[in-house]
């Protein structure tokens, strides 16, 4: 009996207490001050002090463990709410990775008081506390308001410290991008110590390496990861949340992944060997390589390797030039180049001319066979030069293919451009290399013949297709008379080529005259902007219009587009269905269109404001959003429905 009463007393003391002690933890509710003089929201926190070196877990515990849970009832006049999770730290147990808090943690929460009447609530917490081993523990606390005094510990400093660790909204300069399974988050707030912690357990291998430097953080997600990437990123002394929707569309729907691009580039490189100006000489060259090696006593493999390096070095030089041009272009806003009708005109004529060259019989690439004349002698240095020259000499034949690689490379981060070109180079050099090492492989090569010519001509027609597309872009920019001048340019290009086919004596002089004359016309040429045709439903975007809608609390969607932007066209075809426009109407969303087909400084400035250098760019805003929301670059109908209905 004595024991029982003792136990009872102990029990009462326990529940009365604002703090509770378990084997490995002490929990106490802390706040700013315990005198409560008016109703309202009071900031509080559960403070866990753990046995030194032990830890408990974040909301996503990582590979093992589990987050604490809190159970309570909100009595009359009280609301206990907004339990928050401060950003975690990595706790590693290789090969496992867990996320949590070592030694101590405060989970902030709020108590909303409708009045100052005496009231109390029991709060039970169940949690795991671990070092190498884990112990589940449980404690009950009593939060009690009596005579306007709340039974908490006054620790404003600690509460403030941990509240500052609760993740905040991503800084406005945050940019999340993905290529395949690789995600990159860019922001000035990211330091070399930054780390990404996903909320969802099925996002990524938690112990996989993350690469951080000042301004950018990269990590890989699971191959089968779908849905929205959500998590927090640690920066200097705080955490911020990131969210990137629809990673899956980047993966499989429209974009091609880096690995696919590399594979295609490699295959493209192999195909280059089939071009008429390359294939006939490849066997010859490979054999002469073997022979010259015998003469110079250096090994075949050394020579063959030197040749490969020569090819790779040349391709990389081309890549570096292109990337530099691209970066220079980006300084003035990528897309401007294509916006300039002059550039589009010249490009269309150039591509048309390449098409004619491919379809007709002119062979500009006979130089390959003369390589031996360029280089006399043997040895690895000469093999290297041979490799370099073979790329350059074969270029008239290979240019169309390079064009495709170039197109993809230009819209990729620099590193990927290099990888793609590297893969192209390896593909190009491989047959040559193998034949040099194993001369018997020659018999496996397809026999040179008529089919090569046919293949070449087919590529010529692809060029015509591209030229027509450019003409269509131009047709969106200029009036019919200006278009005529472009077609005259096509005509003259064809004429000059014909002159050189029939080996007309003065063809060079005539060509120069024609180019000069036409160029003079072009320089006087003023592009007349086409009068803007407006769709019935479309309201043209302007900054004034946008701010007016925002002021009146009216939702809007902005489509930054242009005739020359293929991705924009694809998106418009795929995602902007009648269903979507009906949904816009139903939800009172105003659809604004910002057409960047022609230069427009207002649009350019606005795009820059969203930290973009180009389009497509889609913006959605409604009253509930503080700031306009930047949508994915790749749209689907489903994704747009989600955006409209869930915000």
């Amino acid at each position: 009996m004595r024991y029982l009463s003792l136990f009872l007393i102990f029990y009462v003391v326990f529940v009365e207490a604002k703090s509770a002690k378990t084997d490995h933890a002490e929990i106490v509710i802390i706040g700013e001050k315990n005198i409560i003089d008016k109703p309202g929201v009071i900031e509080l926190g559960y403070k866990f002090t753990l046995t030194a070196g032990w830890h408990t877990y974040w909301i996503n515990p990582g590979d093992s463990g589990g987050p604490p849970i809190f159970e309570f009832n909100s009595p009359d006049g009280w609301k206990i709410k907004n339990n928050a999770w401060p950003g975690p730290q990595k706790i590693e147990y290789p090969p496992l990775m867990t996320f949590g808090y070592v030694d101590e943690v405060v989970f902030p929460f709020q108590l909303e008081l409708e009045n100052l009447n005496d009231q109390e609530s029991e709060i039970t917490t169940k949690f795991l506390v671990c070092d190498d081993i884990c112990v589940p523990e449980e404690a009950t606390l009593l939060l009690k308001l009596k005579n306007q005094i709340l039974n908490i510990e006054e620790r404003p400093d600690q509460l403030k410290k941990w509240r500052n660790l609760v993740p905040i909204r991503a800084p406005p300069d945050t940019l999340v991008s993905s290529i395949g399974t690789l995600f990159t988050v860019e922001s000035k707030s990211i330091s070399s110590q930054s780390q990404f912690f996903p909320f969802d357990e099925n996002t990524m291998d938690f112990s996989s390496e993350q690469i951080s430097e000042n301004g950018a953080l990269s990590f890989e997600v699971f191959e089968d990861f779908t849905g929205t990437l959500k998590g927090v990123i640690s920066s200097e002394n705080s955490f911020f949340e990131v969210e990137k929707a629809g990673a899956v569309s980047v993966n499989s729907d429209v974009g091609i992944s880096l690995l696919t691009a590399i594979l295609f580039a490699f295959i493209g490189g192999l195909i280059l060997n089939l071009m008429p100006c390359v294939l006939p000489v490849i066997a010859l060259k490979a054999l002469s390589l073997v022979k010259s090696s015998a003469d110079s006593k250096s090994s075949v493999s050394l020579n063959a390797s030197a040749y490969v390096f020569g090819v790779i070095a040349t391709f990389m030089a081309i890549a570096i030039t292109l990337v530099s041009l691209k970066n220079a272009g980006e300084l003035i806003g990528w897309g401007y180049q294509l916006q300039s009708p002059f550039v589009v005109t010249l490009l269309s004529i150039l591509i048309f001319a390449i098409g004619i060259v491919l379809v007709t019989d002119i062979n500009l690439g006979t130089g390959m066979g003369k390589l031996e004349n360029y280089i006399n002698g043997s040895g690895p240095v000469n093999s290297f030069l041979t490799g370099a020259l073979s790329v350059i000499v074969a270029s008239p034949c290979t240019a169309p293919f390079m064009g495709a690689a170039l197109g993809f490379a230009l819209i990729q981060p620099d590193l990927y451009s290099y990888l793609i070109f590297l893969s192209l180079a390896i593909g190009f050099a491989l047959p040559y290399f193998l034949i040099a090492l194993f001369p018997s492989l020659i018999s496996l090569l397809p026999k040179p013949g008529k089919w090569m010519e046919t293949l070449k001509q087919l590529f010529g027609f692809m060029m015509f297709g591209a030229a027509i597309w450019l003409l269509w872009v131009l047709a969106n920019q200029v009036d019919a008379n200006s278009l005529l001048l472009v077609l005259v340019g096509w005509f003259l290009a064809a004429f000059i080529i014909w002159l050189s086919i029939i080996k007309f004596k003065y063809n060079l002089i005539i060509a120069l005259l024609v180019i000069f004359g036409w160029g003079y016309e072009l320089s006087k040429w003023e592009f007349k902007s086409q009068s803007v045709v407006e769709d019935k439903n479309t309201i043209t975007w302007s900054i004034e219009k946008e701010s007016e809608l925002q002021k009146n609390g009216k939702s809007y969607f902005i489509n930054f587009t242009a005739a020359w932007c293929i991705t924009c066209k694809v998106n418009e075809g795929v995602a902007f269905t009648d269903k979507i426009f009906n949904e816009f109407d139903k939800n009172n969303v105003t659809y604004l269109k910002a057409d960047w087909t022609n230069r427009n400084p207002q649009i350019a400035a606005q795009i820059e404001k969203y930290n973009r250098s180009g389009i497509p760019l889609y913006i959605f805003w409604n009253e509930k959003l503080d700031e306009p929301m930047v949508l994915n670059e790749i749209l689907t109908e489903g994704y747009l429905m989600e955006v409209i209905n869930e915000n």
């Binding site: 877990y57 515990p61 590979d63 093992s64 463990g65 589990g66 987050p67 604490p68 849970i69 159970e71 147990y93 090969p95 496992l96 867990t98 169940k126 949690f127 795991l128 671990c130 190498d132 081993i133 884990c134 112990v135 589940p136 449980e138 399974t181 690789l182 357990e201 099925n202 996989s208 390496e209 690469i211 430097e213 950018a216 990269s218 890989e220 880096l258 690995l259 620099d414 590193l415 990888l419």
Partner: protein
């Protein structure tokens, strides 16, 4: 930075060592509680369940204290399914047992594994990328992995310790019955929960 990203890509490309659903699980042989060598190959033609365990882990304890694990083990082994309990705790770490202790634990807890296998150096655990105790794998008759992950959906700390485990959605049971009925396993991969394996 760029070089690092590149190596990251290459690494992830090469080093996905974990077992994949639909692929044949790597074979292994380990010593059991009677010091006999047991190889995965000898169970061809039968379904196999692998259970990574650590008798001192509170998550495992909860499953055994409530007889939840033993009931599943019995139901499975009664249906000709092979149940292998694997202990990958290193010597001196939590959960490490000798053959004698393994036997004792089985009889004491009235467990029904086909074998208890001792993976003291952790090789097999690492081969399967086993992360937690419990961590479950289901292999079909030809040795293909059909399910891997948690035993049930009570991964959340409190839920595990305060819920009637028989009411949980048991992923292993579901996977087995879906495999038997031929409809295909619905939840093929879940994130395992529990204590880290003490390699």
């Amino acid at each position: 930075m760029r070089i690092k990203i590149l190596s990251l890509l290459l690494l992830s490309f090469l080093a996905s060592a974990s077992v994949k659903n639909g692929e044949i699980a790597p074979s292994f042989s380990l010593l059991n509680q009677d010091n006999e060598s047991v190889s995965l190959d000898e169970f061809k033609g039968k379904k196999i369940i692998l259970e990574w365990t650590n008798h001192d882990c509170p998550f495992v304890k909860r499953h055994y204290d409530t007889e939840n694990m033993q009931t599943i083990q019995k139901d499975m082994t009664d249906n000709e399914i092979v149940w292998l309990s694997i202990i990958s705790s290193a010597k001196g770490k939590q959960g490490y047992v000798t053959k004698e202790q393994a036997k004792e634990l089985t009889s004491e807890r009235n467990a029904h594994p086909t074998h208890v296998l001792l993976d003291t150096n952790g090789d097999v655990g690492r081969m399967f990328s086993a992360k937690t105790t419990p961590h479950m794998f289901l292999l079909d008759e030809v040795g293909k992995v059909r399910y891997q992950g948690a035993i049930d959906n009570l991964g959340n700390t409190g839920a595990l310790f305060s819920t009637d485990l028989s009411k949980a959605k048991n992923y292993v049971r579901n996977a087995v019955s879906q495999l038997v009925s031929g409809e295909g396993v619905r939840d093929k991969k879940t994130r395992p929960y529990g204590c880290s394996i003490k390699y």
